[in-house]
């Protein structure tokens, strides 16, 4: 199998340019961030922060400063409200399982939406199997939550609501503040969790202003290293820890703190927020160039998610009709443009992206979807190259489709 990969990689030799747009699924870490992390592997603060020696105290110092910086970036009251985890998958698991179990004697009703990421969706369904009642709030054709149905879904026994602030696939910016108000009006004791991985660094996200009780942040989604994330837990909100082990500085996550990755996460956050307006303006400009370029240059395409109002500044998601998504990702890769697809063919099961299906996309429309995310490090030239490659690739794959499926 590894031999195959070598051949696949060889097929990419001689590319004129490479444009990585699959920032939903992993990201390259800029040198500036890697350099910031490097000393923490073996120069300083490599100790265990709970131990009584210099490298330990150094680690303690940097972890506390890191927590303070992340806390400030989302408006926390104290740095104790930030719990570092090994990523957003872990933070979402911790939020759902930890909050549901902490409140299980008060009620067993959980509410999420139809478009949550699978590390929320699958965890909620796991809880459902163990006796919790799960309600999924539907969304409209652009992915916006139905606030009316949210209101109906919450009652006195609802202990947990989890709704992401920005949709990870189609970039819908949800009315989280309004959602929190609706939930708290119905039941002030309900814990409100929001996966803010796709909101953080893209739109203003403040825990005081939105009123959320728990929020997930992710390092790699802001160009930081993979393997770091955080769960914001508001003071006095109960969350049970999910893993047992040696507890250290992190109240909800055992094991030795990964100081270098956390430092990288903080550096990524600083770089994102230092020029927040400028960064998001650039992303929005590149996004619009890519989005309108594809929509104007290619026939039979559908934009998934909101047009521009209410769309995250980095997200482009387009369905190419009569063009199978996995085949298109490979064709684009062979031409140096790296994207992912919501096609079932790139997954284990037959269902295409549940997010697209929830917005009313038919299966055949979802199979041809391509997800792209721009970052503050992309350039106009990158977009020009992608816009040169994409229509040609679509044309070639559609040539293979031919008249198949035309009645």
């Amino acid at each position: 199998m590894v031999e195959n990969v070598k051949e696949l990689l060889k097929a990419h030799e001689g590319l004129r340019r490479e444009v990585y747009l699959d920032n939903e699924n992993s990201t390259p870490v800029p040198d500036e961030i890697v350099e910031a992390m490097r000393p923490y592997y073996n120069r300083r603060a490599y100790g265990n922060p709970t131990l009584t020696h210099k490298p330990g105290w150094e680690a303690f110092e940097v972890l506390m400063e890191s927590a303070q910086k992340i806390a400030s970036s989302i408006g926390c009251k104290t740095l104790e409200e930030i719990n570092f985890t090994p990523g957003e998958t872990e933070a979402n698991n911790l939020a759902l399982l930890g909050a549901a179990l902490a409140a299980k004697d008060k009620g067993k009703k959980i509410v999420i939406s139809d478009v949550e990421p699978i590390n929320v969706l699958n965890v909620a369904e796991m809880l459902q199997k163990t006796g919790f009642t799960l309600t999924k709030v539907p969304v409209d054709h652009e992915g916006f939550l139905s606030l009316e149905q949210l209101k109906e879904a919450v009652d006195g026994e609802t202990t947990l609501v989890s709704l992401s602030a920005v949709n990870h696939e189609i970039g819908t910016v949800q009315p989280i503040r309004e959602a929190v108000k609706i939930v708290k009006d119905r039941n002030p004791d309900t814990v409100f969790h929001s996966d803010a991985s796709d909101a953080y660094g893209r739109i203003p996200f403040d825990v005081q202003r939105t009123g959320v009780d728990l929020a997930t942040l992710s390092s790699y989604k802001i160009l930081g290293p993979r393997g770091a994330g955080a769960l914001y837990v508001k003071e006095r909100v109960n969350v049970e820890k999910m893993l047992e082990g040696q507890m250290g500085t992190q109240r909800l996550w055992p094991g030795v703190e990964n100081t270098p990755l956390i430092v990288g996460f903080v550096k990524a956050s600083e770089l994102m927020f230092r020029n927040f307006e400028e960064n998001t303006r650039l992303m929005r400009k590149l996004r619009d160039k890519l989005m309108t370029g594809i929509m104007n240059e290619t026939a039979n395409v559908l934009l998934n998610g909101p047009r521009s109002e209410g769309r995250a500044p980095d997200n482009v998601n387009i369905s190419f009709l009569r063009c199978e998504g996995e085949a298109l990702t490979i064709e684009l890769s062979l031409n140096g443009v790296y994207v992912s697809s919501g096609s079932a063919c790139s997954r284990r099961l037959l269902q295409p992206s549940h997010v697209l299906v929830a917005t009313g996309r038919k299966f055949d429309q979802a199979h041809g979807s391509i997800l792209m995310k721009v970052t503050r490090l992309h350039t106009e030239e990158d977009m020009n190259y992608a816009l040169e490659v994409i229509p040609k690739a679509v044309q070639r794959i559609r040539g293979i489709t031919g008249s198949t499926g035309v009645e």
Partner: protein, 166 residues
């Protein structure tokens, strides 16, 4: 809803890049389809069959992934000049082997492609109202699987949005 790594082999990559016998055949004797756009997996085979029941030429069109394209393409090469009786014996295993092996999550692509071929052969005899001895009355494994995949996609697409009746 998990993903599997897909390290496609060089043969599949080559057939993906340069598929053989691609395109609609205007003078086809028989045309058959397996899968549907809802599956995200659909193949059309065009066969030109002569009076001796030999496949003179075969072509395909595919709405599907690289494995789907490669297996369809290789079948059109495998069955050329074959008598229909021989072509009927082509199995998804022989197709998978011919493309140098398929990732396990992609076996269904090979099965679907063979299903389309067998449907074409069955349809040819159905139109002639003839049934040779070797043509099994019961649907073959691949035909059954193709039908199952089509049914499953229909059921899933309805189940996910029952309120809209799709």
């Amino acid at each position: 809803m998990s993903r599997a790594p897909l390290p496609y082999n060089p043969k599949i990559l080559e057939l993906f890049k340069n598929p053989k016998n691609l395109g609609k055949m205007e003078d086809a004797t028989v045309v058959a389809v397996a899968g549907n756009p809802m599956c995200g997996d659909m193949i059309t085979f065009y066969l030109k069959i002569n009076d001796q029941n030999v496949i003179e030429k075969a072509s395909f069109e595919s709405y599907g992934c690289a494995a789907n394209i490669a297996t369809s393409s290789i079948i059109t090469e495998m069955i050329r000049e074959m008598k229909l009786e021989e072509a009927w014996k082509v199995s998804y295993k022989s197709v998978a082997e011919a493309v140098g092996g398929l990732p396990s999550v992609k076996f269904h692509c090979g099965i679907l492609a063979v299903g389309a071929l067998k449907r074409a052969i069955r349809k040819f005899y159905g139109e002639k109202k003839a049934t040779p001895d070797w043509l099994e009355k019961e649907p073959s494994f691949e035909e059954k699987q193709a039908l199952e995949e089509e049914e499953l996609a229909k059921v899933l697409s309805k189940k996910l949005k029952p309120e809209e009746g799709r």
